[in-house]
Chain length 461, copies 2
């Protein structure tokens, strides 16, 4: 016991924290010593993977998982003629931030952590009292509200908060809730093209008797295709793919709009002020970059809509993973910590994210400046109420138009770049979306291939 | 550095593991020392909560969360006249197993763990190649297959594995997939009463255009209420609530059956052999007791059904929480470890679970033995191929019939017991379900109140 205390003191002294105290806490048990740390500390985890990969502690197979186009045991080989993947929207541009500054957001879960269906500590939303299941960790709810208050992008006062398994589950929950009051069923779900077509895919797969896909919002509105009271409009702003910020097509007090605000954070766009819409969706994927955790949330004004959304999540997945909620809470707390209490002791995630994306956008704009064959979306500097200054553009996606060719996807594919074609956003294949939010090494490969593509054009002129 | 190594050696010597090595791994970073351990190691976490509560490390508020009917800062006060909650099915009877023997199933996730939408390591199911998203951690898939092979409760060879956000998401995914081939839409979803009515609640909330609730399977079949080719039968065996093991009502090669096998594990029932059905659902909640993690899985024979189920999960929640998957993998590995490599060095979860529930059932059977007012479901000893011996009953629920009174729920409520009434399972309120799988202290309170209830009957005779 004395030896144990000696080690304890030395560890505290050396590192200002006490790993041994943690062991003491969780393993004050008759079982033999814990084995998980042995697993966790294999030499492979130390591997740098040549700066082009990561080792995750999923199992016994502690191998490097390489960035796109890198291969080999240590991810040291660049694959010759490899196609750069700019299709998927993995937000791994924030990975280096967490690797360098996220030690306080690491989380340990003992094997007995939160085994029950319900959390006994009640959430802060009063409506929980009437609802059968308490699946939300109160601390996560509190930290999400605090985050919005810090950033000033959404009014949280007098709003109910629904936690979902990613924001796509909340889209389904909101469609289900809002379509209850449709006079005609099935009603229509519309969105302005170009748009995130997973919306359509989800509506099609759900095959609801209450709503079905109604296509482009502008066309539907102009043609008076549907009774406006049987319409829900999905509106992403900034928009995915073109990062535009537009008003809804369907307006008025009876209009049912789901505001997808996934990209309304200071690393992607200038914050114009705190929005106060009836239904607003956000996602951890785009806020902190943790897409794999499947955490989204909705801010909802009306208590009946809130209860229906809650019920949808309670019966479709019996709530949301407690592990993901705990981790989301720790990540958001760590993020907040950079901006609170003076905050100068700690790196700031939104600043890091903004600088990364703004610099990438400059690179891209520079590449395309002299091109007449390709044009990229128009962007302007704007005042950001969060950074309290004029900010340069830092969009999550480049939305490119081929001015000469009709099949933009093939042009880019021939240049070794796999983008997402216009058709996948409900418009023509003259357009292509390129993801700007992946790892640095992946963006560098993309930029190199883009430069070569534009150079060919300029050389040929 | 010398000091650090000294601590390292001493720690290894003392505990055979090295906490400091872990720190070294993750925090070889320019940031100041990690703060999470400080949070994790607050004195409150040490609190025993008088043996009637737990402290979870969700946030700064490290307070005891007490077992039912216990209150106070340290959960030391038994609430006078408290209603025992035997309604919900929290599987916390396994909590002490994990607290004592689950050190190797604890898991640490650094802040940068698996941020992307997709896992780069491919799963073992060949169909993944054609599918757009790889959301499953391969190690989890492997450990689930290994678990079924150990227990011998399901044939995994030539089966596709779908991981879902709890098994209720897989019910929705399977209904969606199987109803595609209905000649008449909406077709009917039926199940034999008494049944788990969350099935019905989910079908109602989903409001699918392809299927709707069709009520009791036996009644529907006898009345020829539906074209059998437009019917999906949901069949839980062992059944929730009455733990019966019955055959489907709809039979034949074209019958579409979803086999809910959540309770087909050796701690709840004798394993009769490896089932080889077309669609079988399982749940981590009932296997290891981790209901909060929302991990379920389906074993599926047909590749087209598999692809549709995968797609449903891919678009409704864009996959399944990586944190929960990692934890599920570790838990299952730890469970397996008790039975493999001789296994005698390690406690065995199914043995622990079986002994707990079998002893509880004996207590219950003893209480009700002399009663004529109440009867409990018939149970018999049976041969279990897993334990390789005759086993006594160890059901997850008691299904009680009030032989004299019509409103069984009120009788039990007056005795201080909140059970789930028959109506919640599609039958009369002459029946009540009592949950037998909560914590020891909660079961003891329940048993005490039941004894008092039966004693009143016997005294009055």
């Amino acid at each position: 016991m004395a030896a144990r205390e000696m080690i304890l003191s030395a560890a505290v002294c050396l590192c200002s924290i006490a790993a041994v105290r943690l062991m003491d806490l969780y393993w004050d048990s008759p079982s033999p010593g814990p084995h998980w740390m042995e697993q966790e500390s294999g030499p492979a985890l130390r591997a740098s993977c040549s700066g082009h990969g990561r080792v995750f502690n999923d199992g016994s197979d502690l191998a490097c998982e390489c960035s796109d186009c890198y291969t080999g045991v240590n991810c040291s080989e660049l694959q010759h003629g490899c196609m750069v993947d700019a299709d998927a929207g993995d937000p791994t541009f924030l990975e280096p931030f967490w690797m360098e500054h996220g030690a306080d957001a690491g989380v340990f879960m003992p094997s007995w952590y939160r085994m029950g269906y319900s959390v006994k500590k009640k959430g802060s939303s009063p409506a929980h009292k009437e609802l059968p299941l308490v699946y939300v960790i109160k601390e996560l709810e509190d930290s999400i509200r605090e985050l919005h208050e810090l950033v000033g992008n959404a009014v949280v006062k007098d709003k109910y908060l629904v936690i979902g398994t990613g924001s796509m589950q909340l889209v389904a929950a909101a469609l289900n809730a809002l379509s209850d009051s449709f006079p005609e069923k099935p009603g229509a779900v519309v969105t302005r093209a170009p748009c995130y077509m997973i919306y359509k895919l989800q509506v099609d797969v759900l095959s609801s008797s209450k709503f079905q896909w109604g296509g482009d919002a502008v066309a539907a509105f102009e043609k008076k295709a549907f009774d406006p009271s049987s319409v829900v409009e999905l509106l992403a702003a900034p928009n995915n793919p073109d990062t535009s910020i537009l008003e809804p097509v369907y307006k008025g007090t009876n209009a049912k709009i789901i505001h997808d605000k996934a990209y309304y954070w200071p690393h992607y766009t200038a914050i114009a002020g705190a929005l106060d819409e009836d239904v607003m969706l956000f996602s951890l994927s785009k806020t902190t970059g943790h897409a794999g955790s499947r955490i989204g949330w909705a801010l909802v004004r009306d208590i009946e809509v809130y209860k229906k959304m809650f019920m949808y999540i309670a019966v479709s997945t019996i709530g949301v993973s407690r592990e993901s909620q705990l981790r989301a809470h720790r990540l958001i707390k760590s993020l907040l910590d950079g901006y609170q209490n003076g905050g100068s002791h700690k790196a700031r995630m939104f600043d890091f994210g903004y600088h990364t994306l703004q610099s990438r956008w400059q690179t891209l704009a520079e590449i395309f400046k002299a091109s007449t064959r390709f044009s990229i979306q128009k962007t302007d500097s704007q005042h950001c109420s969060f950074f309290k200054k004029e900010v340069s553009p830092s969009p999550a996606y480049a939305w490119i138009r081929c001015e000469q060719e009709e099949d933009c996807h093939s042009i880019f594919a021939a240049a070794g770049i796999n983008g997402r074609p216009g058709r996948a956003f409900g418009v023509s294949n003259r357009y292509i979306r390129l993801c700007m939010i992946k790892r640095d090494d992946e963006f560098e490969l993309l930029a190199g291939k883009l430069q070569a593509l534009v150079d060919t054009e300029l050389t040929n002129e």
